[in-house]
Amino acid sequence: MDQLYMIFDKFLKDFYTVVVENNRWQMYLTGLGNTICIALVAVFIGTMIGLIVAIIKYYAVNNKKLWLLDKLCDLYITVIRGTPTLIQILIMYTVILSSVKNGVPVAMLAFGINSGAYVAEIIRAGILSVDKGQSEAGRSLGLNSNMTMTLIILPQAVKNILPALFNEFIVLLKETSVAGYIAVQELTKSADLIRGRTFIGLPLFISAGLYLIMVVGMTALQKRLERRLAKGDNR
């Protein structure tokens, strides 16, 4: 009983040290804010790039004029998927955008470009999963290819894309933890800084818990979207 009390007492003292003392809770909030900002902007950039690349690759199948763009898209996907994210971030920070001293926008861009390659393949697969007859029906009504894509193909593709896309968003959110390498104080870095100053491991668990809460929230959002998109499915 005494031992249990001592463990609990130590936990409280540690918690006080790593959260309350010197207003350290602010460091978690700063880190959380940076993590969320980087992830959100990167998701936006990644989705835009992914959508454009996927659509180019979709049209390039039947349009010889797009072959060069198609090859460039292939190159982009190959290079991004074939090299470590951390190296891409470091190259972006130390070589390409070395004049930008604030790592946050660099991280946003680098993670966005990274995510785009994965999102492109997810969206391309989603578009291909829609039956060919759907686009033929749209075109036969006189809709042009853009209208057919936006009104008929993409709305149906979204349903197939969503699970894989959220999976990518979750991976991306957690992957932002490597932004600490380019001096961005995101959640992981914050926790590790506090650990380094206090010699207490608890901050790592706190940050892990915060990631977990965010991922659980995203999963809940995914389920809600899936339910909403399921209309028309019931037989």
């Binding site: 029906a137 036969s140 009504l141 006189g142 809709l143 042009n144 008929i152 028309g232």
Partner: protein
């Protein structure tokens, strides 16, 4: 209305259409029959350029649709098409399926399109299905709605690509009934089908295709009563 000159289509090295010539007048109901793989669906799909011909020309209402400068989207608005697999849009309600194209192409306001859709649905007896989704409908209902969706564009010609081949036998009748009604109203129709009864009853002209060519074309009485081509005689002896 439609003139086809020496139409050819090959997929890779496979020549599916080997020179088709035919003229279809306004108000005609042309039924195309033939064995599987004879090229009849490909022929039909070349008429609205869902398949791009590898040779020859297709003229529709005075315009060469195979000319790259022609605005094919404009011409397709006047050529309704009905598919074997219905191809209704599953993410849209029946009403939205019918009104999507006329509204998005700015041919009608939403109110006009809705009213027309209601009228068309009433005609095929499916008014109560206006707000359901395609997956809740039977095959016959889906195909009738697909026909109505094409009609909502007020086309000058309707192309039917084996419209009853994917249906349960008991639902074939209701779809053919709608097509017959359409024929009686004077719609120009090109129908690829295996329904010989429909061909006999509705067609003004029946074409027999085999191996990428039209081997015989005749009014239904002569086509079924006194076929000349040996291959057609053999075909009819099997299907009738």
């Amino acid at each position: 209305m439609i003139t086809v000159k020496n139409l050819q289509k090959s997929f890779g090295g496979n020549n599916v259409l080997k020179g088709i010539d035919i003229t279809i007048q306004k108000g005609e109901k042309v039924v195309v029959v033939g064995p599987s793989g004879s090229g009849k669906s490909t022929f039909l799909r070349c008429l609205n350029l869902l398949e791009v011909p590898t040779g020859g020309e297709v003229w529709f209402e005075g315009q060469n649709i195979t000319d790259p400068k022609t605005d094919i989207n404009k011409l397709r608005q006047k050529m309704g098409m009905v598919f074997q697999q219905f191809n209704l849009f599953p993410h849209l309600s029946v009403m939205e399926n019918i009104t999507l194209a006329p509204v998005k192409l700015k041919l009608q306001t939403q109110a006009q399109a809705d009213e027309q859709a209601q009228r068309l649905l009433a005609r095929i007896g499916l008014s109560d299905k206006a707000h359901t989704y395609p997956n809740q409908l039977s095959g016959g209902q889906k195909q009738r709605i697909a026909i109505v969706r094409a009609l909502a564009m007020n086309p000058d010609v309707m192309l039917f690509d084996e419209p009853t081949s994917a249906l349960d036998p008991e639902m074939v009748g209701e779809v053919l009934e709608v097509m017959k009604e359409l024929a009686h109203e004077g719609m120009t129709m090109v129908v690829v089908t295996h329904e010989m009864g429909f061909a006999r009853e509705v067609a003004t002209r029946v074409l027999f295709m085999d191996n990428g060519q039209i081997l015989e074309e005749a009014p239904p009485e002569r086509f079924f009563g006194a076929p000349k081509n040996d291959r057609l005689k053999e075909f009819l002896s099997k299907v009738l």
